[in-house]
């Protein structure tokens, strides 16, 4: 069995991945499985049945104290004061200039306790940023080492997970969570995900991760459960038009430019980045994120230039084959005035312009 490169970080499930022959890659400094049986096979398994993902590389930050809510509301764009205990939402952590520090999931554990799930490669930066912005009676705790995270995703996720917990999963609504037990291990069970399917993300103690992983695989066996890697996670989220930090969003892209206006709540009195976003809004947002489908032969990929009428107009933020639709799809940033559905654009693929067309998004939406 091969060993990860010495300087890469590993999750508590690293040896499980290596034992089971997953193909491992360096993902932002983490030794992670990119695929097990194959990206397309794993992708289809999540769309049709259930897949299991190790997402323990994701970071966790806990904010507690009498002014925990005020701090969370101040550093994030969504309206945390609207959250009820046991509810979660997607939000943005912004710089004063309006660009993203990170995109985050905020869970309200209690009136004075918020649990934030953040991107792996941003976790130290996020922690520092929240601390820097804080002038509140609240403690900010870097909690990543205390949690492993496993995502169970797909139409059979509920049936799989229900076998291992007494928590009535049917009662947890989408983007709500409950604390309970999974396979006799204390777990935070959230009905969230990054695949566009129904499913759950569970947070557990790292030293119990391997036991829970194995039991989930057993529980899902009758549904054809498969372990999945980051490759399928990426194709699944792209079809559902979920943003990936460093691609659709980043320090130089604001939520308004990334078609994420819905996570910015201007009715809040103040939040970091508000002034910059208000200015952007009053001057008119100049660029936006749209979806495209390739018409010509070729695959528009991350970073490729987009041309309109022979002139450079934008770039592909994420692109690749879509196993569910069978098409080559992508997301790109374009000037607002050029971003109409139905417009033909050209993606520069190895110095050749190849036709694509702007299409409505998401590319895939599950039947409810």
């Amino acid at each position: 069995m091969s060993q990860p490169t010495a300087d890469l970080k590993v999750t508590p499930l690293n040896s499980v991945h290596r034992k089971s022959g997953a193909k491992m890659v360096d993902f932002g400094g983490w030794d992670m499985p990119v695929q097990y049986s194959g990206i397309i096979d794993e992708h289809n398994t999540v769309r049709n049945a259930v897949g299991l993902f190790d997402v323990s590389h994701m970071g966790e930050i806990e904010v507690r104290g009498p002014e925990a809510l005020n701090l969370v509301d101040y550093v994030s764009t969504n309206n945390a004061s609207k959250l009820k205990t046991g509810q979660a939402h997607y939000s943005g952590l912004l710089y004063e200039h309006g660009g993203f520090v990170d995109d985050i999931l905020v869970h309200k554990v209690d009136d004075d306790h918020f649990f934030i799930c953040v991107n792996a490669s941003n976790q130290e930066k996020d922690f520092d940023h929240i601390n820097l912005m804080s002038r509140h009676k609240a403690t900010v705790e870097y909690a990543s080492e205390r949690y492993a995270q496993i995502a169970v995703q797909g139409p059979k996720a509920l049936a799989t997970l229900q076998k291992l917990t007494r928590t009535p999963l049917e009662q947890i609504r989408y983007y709500w969570f409950q604390d309970g037990e999974v396979a006799d291990v204390v777990a935070r069970i959230a009905r969230t995900g990054y695949t566009g399917e129904d499913g759950f993300e569970i947070y557990i103690a790292p030293e119990r991760a391997e036991a829970v992983w194995d039991k989930l695989l057993d529980a899902g066996q009758e549904f054809g459960i498969k372990p999945c890697g980051l490759g399928a996670r990426n194709t699944l989220r792209l079809e559902s038009k979920m943003a990936l930090y460093g691609h659709e969003i980043g320090a130089s892209i604001s939520p308004l430019e990334a078609d994420l206006g819905w996570i910015v709540k201007f009715e809040k009195p103040e939040f970091v980045g508000r002034a910059a976003l208000e200015q952007q809004k009053s001057e008119g947002v100049k660029r936006t994120l749209v979806g495209f489908e390739m018409i010509g032969r070729g695959i528009g990929r991350d970073g490729y230039e987009v041309y309109i009428d022979g002139a450079p107009a934008g770039w592909v933020t994420s692109g690749g084959p879509s196993p569910t639709t069978g098409k080559n799809i992508g997301l790109c940033i374009l000037p607002v005035e050029a971003a109409q559905v139905g417009r033909t654009i050209q993606i520069m693929i190895r110095n050749q312009p190849v036709d694509a067309v702007i299409v409505p998004t998401p590319f895939y939406k599950r039947a409810k």
């Binding site: 193909k23 990119v34 695929q35 194959g38 990206i39 397309i40 096979d41 490759g231 990426n234 194709t235 032969r297 070729g298 695959i299 990929r301 690749g320 084959p321 196993p323 080559n328 190895r350």
Partner: protein, 125 residues
């Protein structure tokens, strides 16, 4: 797994020579490393290619990889069936998923390539 009469490159291509024509493909190791292959880009018939130069590319779900020619010459045939069935490269990379046939302009170049035994050692099998 790796035919004895093929010759192999460090970039994981193979060439099989019959008379003046070399057939080029990617190795089983290469397809395995790439994963699901979804797109193949090949040169036009009549194109001149040189040893070590790019002769096309294959794309998996994740990434694009250039294919480097093991030999120099003129492209006399391309495997156009791969345009519609790129997944054949995962199934039979040493057989019907060959990529291009080349009329060799420097047949001695073959000597610079690896034997099947050397290639197996090279990839650690």
């Amino acid at each position: 797994m790796y035919p004895e009469d093929f010759r192999y490159t460090k970039e994981h291509e193979w060439v099989s020579v019959a008379g003046a024509v070399g057939t080029i493909g990617i190795t089983d190791h290469a397809q395995h490393e790439l994963g699901d292959i979804v797109y193949v880009d090949l040169p036009k018939v009549g194109a001149t290619i040189s040893q070590g130069g790019t002769v096309g590319s294959v794309e998996s779900v994740k990434a694009v990889s250039d294919i480097y020619s093991p030999v120099s010459g003129e492209v006399v045939e391309i495997n156009s069936a791969l345009a519609d069935t790129p997944e054949k490269l995962n199934e039979n990379p040493h057989g019907d998923a060959w990529l291009v046939k080349v009329k060799l302009s420097a047949p001695d170049e073959i000597k610079s390539l690896m034997s099947a035994e050397d290639y197996r050692k090279y990839i650690g099998e």
